[in-house]
Amino acid sequence: MGELRLMKGNEALAEAAIRAGTDGYFGYPITPQSEVIEYLMAEKPHERTGMVVLQAESEVASINMLYGGGGTGKKVMTSSSSPGISLMQEGLSYMAGAEIPCIVANIVRGGPGLGDIQPAQSDYFQSVKGGGHGDYRLPVLAPASVQEMSDFVPVAYDLAFKYRTPVLIVSDGLIGQMMEKVELFDQMPRLTDKEINEKYPWGTNGKPAGQERRVLTSLDLDPHKLEKHNFKLQDKYRTIEANEVQYELIDCDDADYIIVAYGSSARISQKAIQLAREEGIKVGILRPITLWPFPKKAIDELVIKGVKGFLSVEMSAGQMVEDVKLTVRERTKVEHFGRYGGVIHSPEEVLEALKSKIIGG
């Protein structure tokens, strides 16, 4: 068993970054995720593993440092919260185009604009539909506990390097700020330059004599060549959709109704389904762990099984509900419920919405 600690989600993410063998973290503080860089600075990871931690001058600088660092085949990571993540979208689009791996964690807060510092899930569209310009998708992992804030860091690196893509970890102020028991995984070694060169023959690590010149760019002024590059990216996205869907089913076996919820809302909904079952209402939860690729097949199977309705619970005005509707295709009822702008819905409100919008509606 690994080391047990009581940690905030943000701290667990930071400790996991060190243990996953990250080479560089570049970030800029913003509530509610500032503990990530605070923890890293206090922990002095350069003394533990040689990992570099740098406070950049802005989020725009952070993401471009990831472009440079990730481009050499190193494991690089940043974290921010909603307004900061918006500033990074240009860089993410460039990295998707140039196929550069990295991790970007978004501890979402209320928006739009500067919004507030309270938990929200209103960055779903930005996360799963692209966010920046151009035809691209990013794998998105949504932790629902402090444990998963730690566990998903090595998972995200595996995806990032397997598919040469930025990977998002999308959490929110609730998971970031709360403390839970976390079992930490053992320290993984950082790769040596030699190991990186062997594993990642695309890394721009200088040009030794006898080695082909390596170029990482998202620019190609020949439209036919750029279209061909896009075909390759689209093939990659179809492969990710076929192979990397992750989700959890909670009490779905006998369920008449399903709540679809991720992250904090999945936790709150678990309390709601306990309350519902005390009243004899059979309801389960489908928790997407990857928001993209979305667990369409799992939803489809529940529709075929005869589920009478789906309630998409998210701290937004209704974003993920569109993906649920696209999958259900009007074969049964789909509605959205959620408080937003930094307001956290209560388990009782979720149960009430299930009754009024799905069961009675």
């Binding site: 009581l6 510092i117 609730l174 709360m178 403390m179 028991k181 936790r267 709150i268 388990p347």
Partner: protein, 180 residues
Amino acid sequence: MTEEIIIAGFGGQGVLSMGKILAYSGIMQDQEVSWFPAYGPEMRGGTANVTVIVSDDRISSPTLTAYDTAIILNQQSMDKFEETVKPGGVLIYDPNGISKHPTRKDISIYKIEGAKIAAEMGNTKIFNMVVLGGYLSVKPIVKLDNVILGLKKSLHERYHKLIPLNEDAITMGMKNVVKI
């Protein structure tokens, strides 16, 4: 066993650290725990509160609207949280600074003179440990040994010399909690 607790008072009273020590004590006896503070604008107003859940099972929602126990340490928190105690639940408060005492008849109400006892012991900073002792006397959900282990885990080593004082404060709290 699942115990859902709200601890609420002024910033600087040790509300968050009391919750943290309680959560760590739960971990020491292999339980699941969660600790969620109010970190938003309400914190800027000088009040602090934290929701702590200790359970034998996987914890669902870390935020709640009703609690098994409310530990209340100022009037604003009394106004806000007295009504959130589940029927049959427990309310523990320090009367120091309370002008309107709790009135509910469907819950058990206890008083702990935390501020007064801490002052008598010569260190107002151990106020939160006196209150924690009072709580543990009413609801012994974690063993005292595990609280001490929890203290060791949550305090930096340079403060470990203060653990006996904290233990005394908890013991004093246990002896001095009064049912109303």
